[in-house]
């Protein structure tokens, strides 16, 4: 399996790369350096965390829109927000900023990849959030922050797409690898 990790020049991307490396051939490319060929030959495209907002990365948004129906797509943090943006969602500022926080999140019955009503402890780094109401016929919010109810996971029921607002790559997320394993091993 070929994995393409698109790096938005974050200081957490390579933590994610180490989590992904056991699941196939991993290629890490800067977002401004991605070659069409790499995208084409990949089986999984992963959008990394990164500074700023989805609209700062038109190239990544294009890749998402062109390949969302064709390949498995994973987004982490900014990557989660790229997916939301690609599905018509708005990304907005939040009152309380979560940088370096460990909080609880809970899954709901919409999840295809994770058990219903499961409670996980996760690490978080985000200034921005998915603005709600978020209406999409195929994309569902399947995890929420226990404290603020902010969306923590988006799963598509139509395509093989999953985004996490939190960081499975952080040391603040115990067993971060299990999130990645469940998403990678999921078959539509």
């Amino acid at each position: 399996m070929n994995l393409l990790l698109i790096d938005h020049e974050d200081s957490f991307t390579y933590n994610l790369a180490h989590l992904l490396s056991g699941f196939g051939n991993l290629e890490v490319k800067n977002f401004y350096d991605v070659k069409e060929n790499s995208v084409k030959k990949s089986d999984v495209i992963i959008f990394s965390p990164g500074p700023g907002k989805p609209l700062d990365y038109p190239i990544s948004l294009d890749i998402y829109n062109n390949y969302k129906s064709k390949k498995k797509i994973i987004g982490i943090c900014l990557g989660f927000q790229l997916i939301a943006n690609g599905e018509g969602g708005t990304i907005s500022k939040q009152e309380k900023i979560f940088h370096g926080y460990q909080t609880y999140i809970r899954t709901n019955s919409q999840s295809l990849r994770f058990p219903n009503n499961a409670l996980y402890q996760v690490g978080r780094y985000h200034s921005l959030k998915l603005k709600e109401p978020f209406n999409s016929s195929s994309m569902h919010i399947t995890m929420r922050c226990e404290e603020t109810n902010v969306a923590m996971c988006l799963e598509s029921h139509k395509y093989d797409i999953c985004g996490l607002q939190f960081h499975p790559d952080s040391f603040l997320t115990p067993n971060g690898k299990q999130f990645i394993r469940k998403i990678i091993q999921f078959k539509k």
Partner: protein, 401 residues
């Protein structure tokens, strides 16, 4: 002549030398008799690193010791920096032929003892008693403007943590070696060093190691979290303070993940481990909150890849590193030169160590500069942080009086 006499003559001469704290052995080492001095710039950096890769020390004194300046390290990862109009070198490395170990007994390891004391001139000391005024840049108004701009950047997710540096400077001649040992009596720090040359002088009581390589293993020990010993009386109390202080604790988490990331660029998958999470180190005036993270280097990893992944050290910059550096370099007008660069030694690809240059004085063309930086925090004011910078710089500024 016995060793202490030799040492005395050497220290009071004008000979170029480097003094480096060896915290593994709890002593100081003096390096001198440089057969090679390399001034670095972006044009020759790669060539120098390639040369180091082929270098392997087989004499106790033989090594390359020196520093990479901040601007060079930024350019090395393709970032734009402010132009430094002075002739100060962007990095310098020396290759010594003599090493003197200052322990209970003074030990001299040298290629040639006659060379050591050849052609020595007594160091001229200017007994200049004028107290030259210290100026600071950016001033409080400009600092406040930058601070508020960065607050907006944090709200917008463009940086998660960012540290603004200020430069304090004055003009005065310094007796650098004596000043260094005075400072060490008061504030012995594990990564202290002193450089004395005809062109410039440096003293630093840096507490922070950026990385050590021993064989295949690489270890980094980032510091994030500082508290004054005025308020807190024991290491145990300091630990409790750091645990209960939300802001410090979260910032520390961020730096742990950042350093895990930087190590992950050059190490084997799943080899990166947090060896020691959040332990307290005690200094003259402050306690620091430190973590220790290690990994196993990739087979055949290039030295240039290690430098690019790790430098400049993230804990003194902010996170994420690249965008935060871009924001800093846009707003800060003073070249940082040695500040937040790295000083250390290279004996072989399996044996090297570099620190982060903070708490330092650079003396160049009679001008002295001290930098201090602190983080932009949403619920703090510019005036508070401006004052905190001054406190951080104070012990060094005392030396400039």
């Amino acid at each position: 002549m016995d060793n202490s006499e030799i040492l005395n003559i050497l220290l009071n001469s004008d000979k170029d030398l480097v003094i480096y704290r060896n915290s593994d052995n709890n002593n100081f080492e003096i390096f001198t008799d440089f057969v090679e001095k390399v001034d670095l710039n972006l044009g020759n950096l790669q060539k120098f690193l390639n040369k180091l890769e082929r270098f392997k020390s087989n004499k106790p004194y033989d090594c390359y010791i020196g520093f990479f300046g901040y601007e060079l390290l930024c350019k090395n990862i393709n970032l734009k920096v402010n132009k430094d109009s002075s002739s100060f070198p962007e990095g310098v490395f020396f290759r010594p032929q003599t090493k003197i170990i200052l322990d209970k007994k003074i030990k001299i390891l040298t290629k040639s003892k006659t060379e050591l004391l050849k052609d020595l001139k007594v160091l001229k000391k200017n007994n200049n008693l004028n107290h030259y005024k210290v100026t600071v840049s950016p001033n409080v108004q400009v600092y406040e403007k930058i601070f508020n701009k960065f607050k907006k950047n944090i709200r917008a997710g463009e940086t998660y943590q960012i540290k603004i540096a200020q430069k304090y400077s004055n003009k005065k001649d310094l007796d650098i070696v004596n000043l260094f040992f005075d400072l060490m009596k008061k504030n012995l720090s594990p990564e202290s060093f002193c450089v004395r040359t005809k062109d410039f002088n440096i003293i630093s009581c840096s507490p922070e190691n950026l990385f050590k390589v021993r064989g295949k293993k690489i270890v980094t020990s980032p510091i994030a979290g500082t508290v004054s010993r005025d308020k807190i009386k024991s290491t145990k109390e300091a630990r409790r303070f750091f645990e209960n202080n939300q802001k410090e604790d979260k910032e520390h988490n961020m730096i742990v993940d950042l350093e895990r990331n930087d190590l992950s660029r050059i190490t084997k998958p799943n080899s990166v481990k947090i060896q020691n999470l959040k332990f307290v180190q005690k200094y003259q005036y402050i306690y620091h909150n430190v973590s220790e993270i290690s990994g196993t280097l990739l087979d055949n990893v290039r030295l240039s890849a290690i430098i690019k992944a790790m430098m400049p050290g993230g804990s003194v910059i902010g996170c994420p590193k690249i965008n935060t550096l871009k924001l800093l370099n846009k707003e800060e007008k003073e070249p940082r030169r040695i500040y937040t660069g790295s000083f250390g030694y290279f004996r072989s690809k399996q044996d090297m160590s570099f620190n982060i240059i903070i708490r330092s004085i650079l003396n160049f063309k009679k001008n002295n500069e001290v930098f201090a930086a602190s983080g932009v925090i949403l619920d703090s004011t510019a005036k508070n942080e401006y004052h905190e910078n001054y406190l951080k710089a104070k012990s060094l500024l005392d030396l400039l009086k």
